[in-house]
């Protein structure tokens, strides 16, 4: 072992992470299949006939029967699921009865707006939540700590749609600093490439449009992020306060490292993992919370589509939307797990044993 060249050791250190990734991908696939069955069944248990809702009150019994046959609704749930799985494997989620377009087209249109909102909110959680937690722990018991704890508590104690209304009233209505609704000003035309406006405007080199998109997303994203910021700050503080009691912090002090460096490096990194886990969960939970915030800020995301398809009992639309949200949730969790493995040498190296 001693004579092993360094390269072999390095590859050895990578494999456990890859193994972790493979394991998480496999379990995610199983979860996704389970979710699809569940939502497939639930969507069909809700009372109401999708064919009748889609065709309207004037449709004849024959027309309804024909549509039911076309949608395979006249067959058992198991047969229907078989058709669904066969379609999904071909990348087809069926036709939405609400928009009369393929569900995949609908999702491709609405998902980027929601994802962009969530990504910006997640970035805010990290960019504000973690530093606030670090300051709070470093100045424990001082006024900065007390102020940060008060703010975090406020952030956690109200749901995001309440913050959405409050922020909109304060900073878009009374103090018109931010636009009140929408993704971008009406006079700006952006050619969609990815559907993420902040990326598309940058790709086009249109900085004015980029600034406009960022200006529009600021308030809804902040409303969505506030409770996550509060939670991340509180958890980071709590863990760092505990870490500060450890001998290695005293050792760092005995070596004369600055308090700032001790906070940002020696105390922060060992305390980061629980915060990351929480941010990951919050991130995924935002997919649900975004529905109401999107409604308040007239954000053309997946929320309006999701609500409409549920109300119209658009089976394909419901299943498609839920599947996409579940998949996003799982992907975010895998990313968080990998990040944690990279940050925590113990987890990274213990994968070898299992």
């Amino acid at each position: 072992m001693v004579a092993q060249p360094a390269i072999v050791q390095r590859r050895d250190a990578m494999t456990p992470v890859l193994r972790l990734l493979a394991k998480r991908l496999a379990t995610s696939l199983i979860v996704l299949v389970g979710v699809s069955m569940l939502i497939f069944a639930i969507a069909r248990i809700i009372p109401g006939d999708p064919a009748r809702i889609a065709l309207g009150p004037n449709a004849t019994a024959e027309q309804i029967a024909a549509l039911r046959a076309q949608l395979h609704l006249d067959q058992s749930v198991f047969v229907q699921y078989g058709y669904f799985v066969a379609d999904v494997l071909r990348g087809d989620l069926g036709i939405s009865l609400y928009t009369n377009r393929p569900v995949t087209t609908d999702i491709a249109q609405f998902l980027p707006a929601t994802l962009e909102l969530i990504l910006v909110a997640g970035a805010m959680m990290i960019a504000f939540g973690l530093p606030l937690g670090i300051w709070s722990a470093r100045y424990k018991g001082k006024w900065a700590d007390n102020l940060i704890r008060l703010i975090s508590l406020l952030g956690v104690s109200a749901p995001s749609f309440v913050w959405a209304v409050i922020l909109m009233l304060l900073f878009a209505f009374y103090l018109p600093l931010f636009p009140i609704a929408g993704r971008i000003s009406d006079d700006i035309v952006v050619t969609p490439v990815t559907g993420f406006l902040m990326i598309d405007t940058l790709v086009a080199g249109n900085l004015r449009a980029f600034a406009d998109a960022a200006w529009h997303i600021a308030l809804p994203a902040f409303a969505l992020a506030l409770s996550g910021i509060g939670q991340a700050a509180r958890l980071t503080r709590a863990n760092m306060v505990e870490t500060y009691e450890r001998p290695y912090i005293e050792m760092a002090r005995s070596y004369g490292f600055s308090e700032r460096r001790i906070a940002n490096r020696y105390a922060f990194k060992p305390s980061l993992i629980p915060s990351l886990t929480i941010i990951g969960l919050d991130f995924a939970a935002m997919l649900g919370n975004a529905f109401l915030v999107e409604a308040i800020f007239a954000w053309p995301g997946l929320s309006r589509y999701g609500v409409e398809v549920i109300l119209r009992k658009d089976l394909n639309g419901i299943v498609g939307t839920v599947l996409i949200i579940s998949a996003t949730f799982l992907i975010v969790n895998i990313i968080v797990d990998l990040l944690i493995a990279f940050l925590n040498p113990r987890i990274r190296h213990s994968q070898r044993a299992s």
Binding site: V2, A6, Q9, R246, P247, Y248, E250, M251, A252, R253, S254, Y255, G256, F257, S258, Y266, K269, P270, L343, N344, P345, R346, H349
Partner: protein, 292 residues
């Protein structure tokens, strides 16, 4: 006699609590010559560790601590120095070794990175590769043969004895003039502790480093120190060359402490009385009596 490396004069320390001031150190004095190994011996709570932390300047920032007296390091009064200048001494001119090596090293950084940070205290511009080479050289000095593996490891992947060597190597990396060792290796098993102490002794001799060695273990002190101070409840009770004090312990507390060392022949350990009026007897100074 040359000027002492460390000279503590009439040091008082008290903590402000809910019930008012509690004095922990009642005016202790201590000096260490350059390259000299001096032990500070006493039971837990006697004030050994706080003394070490005052020398390093770790207690001064505590709002509840009240410190009076003089601490001269290389002839300069630490209390009169700017906090910046005092701060600059830490990790460069003086460094410290702690009780439990494994929990004193940061668990989420590789040994190489922790070494790099330590070396940067003396030379802020030192590059990663250069620091790596320097660290490997110092690790070789503490008899670590596969330095590359150790440098790439995290503390939890190394044994306690290995971590102890790493900590000794780190503490001496910047060639400090004074090393403070607070119960080094107490968390290790006895043979490993003896090995690492031997290593440490050889290194500080080679580098001519002055050592303040804090311990409750008289056997270890006898092996390691040139001179020793016995401290009891914040007061020095006996001081002198190690041989002289062991040959002729005169203070009642020192005698009780020595009687409490377990013997291989068995017979049980005599208990030290929690307190005794005898222990309050004045300081016995072996050097003051014998002309040196």
């Amino acid at each position: 006699m040359s000027a002492p490396m460390l000279d503590i004069r009439d040091l008082h320390l008290s903590f402000k609590g809910h019930t008012g001031l509690t004095e922990v150190l009642h005016g202790i004095s201590l000096h260490i010559q350059p390259g000299e190994r001096v032990a500070l011996v006493g039971e837990s709570g006697s004030g050994k560790s706080v003394t070490a932390r005052i020398v390093l300047g770790l207690l001064q920032d505590l709002p509840s601590a009240r410190i009076t007296g003089q601490v001269l390091f290389d002839g300069r009064d630490l209390e009169l120095m700017s906090s910046r200048a005092r701060h600059a001494l830490r990790g460069t001119a003086m460094s410290m070794i702690f009780q439990d090596p494994t929990s004193s090293l940061n668990p989420v950084f590789r040994i190489a990175d922790q070494f790099h940070d330590v070396l940067r205290r003396a030379d802020p511009s030192v590059a990663k590769a250069a620091a790596h080479d320097r660290a490997a050289a110092i690790l070789a000095e503490v008899s670590i043969r596969d330095a590359q593996r150790v440098l790439n490891a995290y503390p939890f992947q190394l044994s306690g004895g290995m971590n102890q060597r790493v900590m000794i190597a780190m503490a001496l990396a910047n060639e400090p003039a004074l090393l403070i060792a607070d119960e080094p290796g107490t968390a290790l098993d006895v043979t490993v502790q003896a090995q690492t102490l031997q290593l440490m002794r050889r290194l500080v001799e080679d580098h001519h480093t002055a050592v303040l060695f804090i311990s409750h273990n008289l056997g270890v002190v006898r092996e390691f120190a040139d001179r020793l101070y016995v401290i009891y409840k914040g007061r020095m009770v006996e001081q002198g060359p190690t041989d002289a004090v062991f040959a002729d312990p005169r203070h009642p507390y020192t005698r009780a402490l020595m009687a409490a060392v377990p013997h291989l022949t068995g017979g049980g350990i005599p208990e030290i009385a929690e307190a005794s009026p005898d222990f309050a007897a004045p300081l016995v100074d072996h050097e003051a009596e014998a002309p040196s």
